[in-house]
């Protein structure tokens, strides 16, 4: 029970100090709770935006890499010279899965290399420690011994497309009896040029599998205009009648 005298003295004391009313504990707790709610909402939105932006940037990077790889590979197949050859080798490494190696033989002016000096180019899916594969371009010089050839094929090469999974090359030489395309998983050295080359793979940042088809123009004899039977004669001038 607070005596009226005590209450008055408290009031006087507050007035003498000239201070304001302080917040009660309940008000402070309520305001802190509201602040915490607002801060949590802002943190959640900011955090999710940063995560989404990072994912979008990663996907953009992978898409740009894939686009550039497909472009240079498509150009390589389109500009395959007449004497160029295409073959596929599946090498069995030590304790690893088979490494698909697409070999473009007797080529020049591909992948930005103006002259290869009779060498071949190889697109190999090199295994990485994290379980993914990197599609690399490897130059295989001509006239190598077996040991040198093995060393050249196992060279790291120039990485073109990292973080690929399950890369698979297939080739189209013709159609089945019902008209559906007949894709072949094997294309040994010495085979003729395929009509189409297909690459199927999965990329870490992209949910859907990627499938790209490359066209190889067929080799045909150069078309020349048949020579004229009679020798060319100068056309008569319009002012001159033909009989004159």
């Amino acid at each position: 029970m607070i005596l009226p005298e005590t209450k008055r003295s408290c009031h006087r004391f507050r007035r003498s100090l000239g201070s304001a009313w302080a917040f009660t504990l309940l008000e402070v707790i309520l305001s802190m709770a509201i602040m915490a709610l607002l801060a949590a909402s802002v943190y959640a939105i900011t955090s999710s935006s940063i995560t989404a932006a990072r994912m979008a940037m990663d996907q953009q990077l992978v898409l740009r890499r894939l686009d550039a790889f497909l472009r240079v590979t498509r150009n390589a197949f389109l500009n395959l010279p007449g004497q160029g050859s295409v073959s596929l080798q599946l090498s069995k490494g030590k304790g690893r899965d088979a490494e698909p190696r697409l070999i473009l033989g007797k080529v020049q002016g591909m992948f930005g290399m103006p002259s290869l000096g009779g060498a071949s180019l190889m697109l190999a899916a090199k295994a990485r420690a994290d379980g993914t594969r990197t599609i690399c371009m490897v130059r295989i010089p001509a006239r190598l011994s077996d040991r040198e050839l093995e060393a050249a094929m196992n060279a790291p090469g120039v990485p073109l497309l990292p973080k690929a999974r399950k890369p698979r090359w297939s080739f189209l030489a013709g159609a089945n009896g019902d008209g559906t395309p007949a894709w072949k998983e094997e294309w040994p050295p010495g085979s003729p040029r395929p009509l189409l080359v297909r690459l199927q793979l999965e990329l870490d940042e992209i949910p859907d599998p990627v499938e790209a088809i490359f066209y190889i123009p067929p080799i045909s004899a150069p078309q020349v205009e048949p020579p004229a039977n009679d020798s060319p004669s100068p056309s008569p001038s319009p002012s001159q009648p033909p009989g004159s």
């Binding site: 007035r15 304001a20 009313w21 607002l38 909402s41 802002v42 939105i45 900011t46 999710s48 935006s49 989404a52 932006a53 979008a56 996907q59 953009q60 898409l63 894939l66 686009d67 497909l70 498509r74 189209l172 159609a175 395309p181 009509l195 189409l196 992209i206 859907d208 599998p209 990627v210 499938e211 790209a212 088809i213 490359f214 066209y215």
Partner: protein, 135 residues
Amino acid sequence: MMMSDRNHRKGEEGFTQGFTLFEVLIALAVFMLAVTGLAVALNTALQAALEVRQRSFCRAELESRLAFCQAVPPPVGSTRVLDASKNHGVKVEESLVPWPLKNRKGLEIAGLKKLTVKTTSGNQTDQAEILLNLP
């Protein structure tokens, strides 16, 4: 400075006035506007990224189908359709029609056909047309 003046403004009984309910509501509304703007901007950025991805897939599929049709063209006069559910989420329509074109001597070039390939992924559409010589 204004907040400090406001906080220390004394009322009739000598006590400091707090914020009114109206002021608190306005402050909360402004805050919510800012947060909503942030969320809308985030959503727009994500939609743009998704759109770019769909467009890239559309273009890649278009180039692949153009390559395929050069080796295995669709029947003349009809449209070959690949459903999106069976083709990585991209719908493809391919058509081949005769394309009458004359050379400099006025003679029609035989076997010339126009190949049209149209790909659709989500709300993204891409289309390409090339001339093929298929005698």
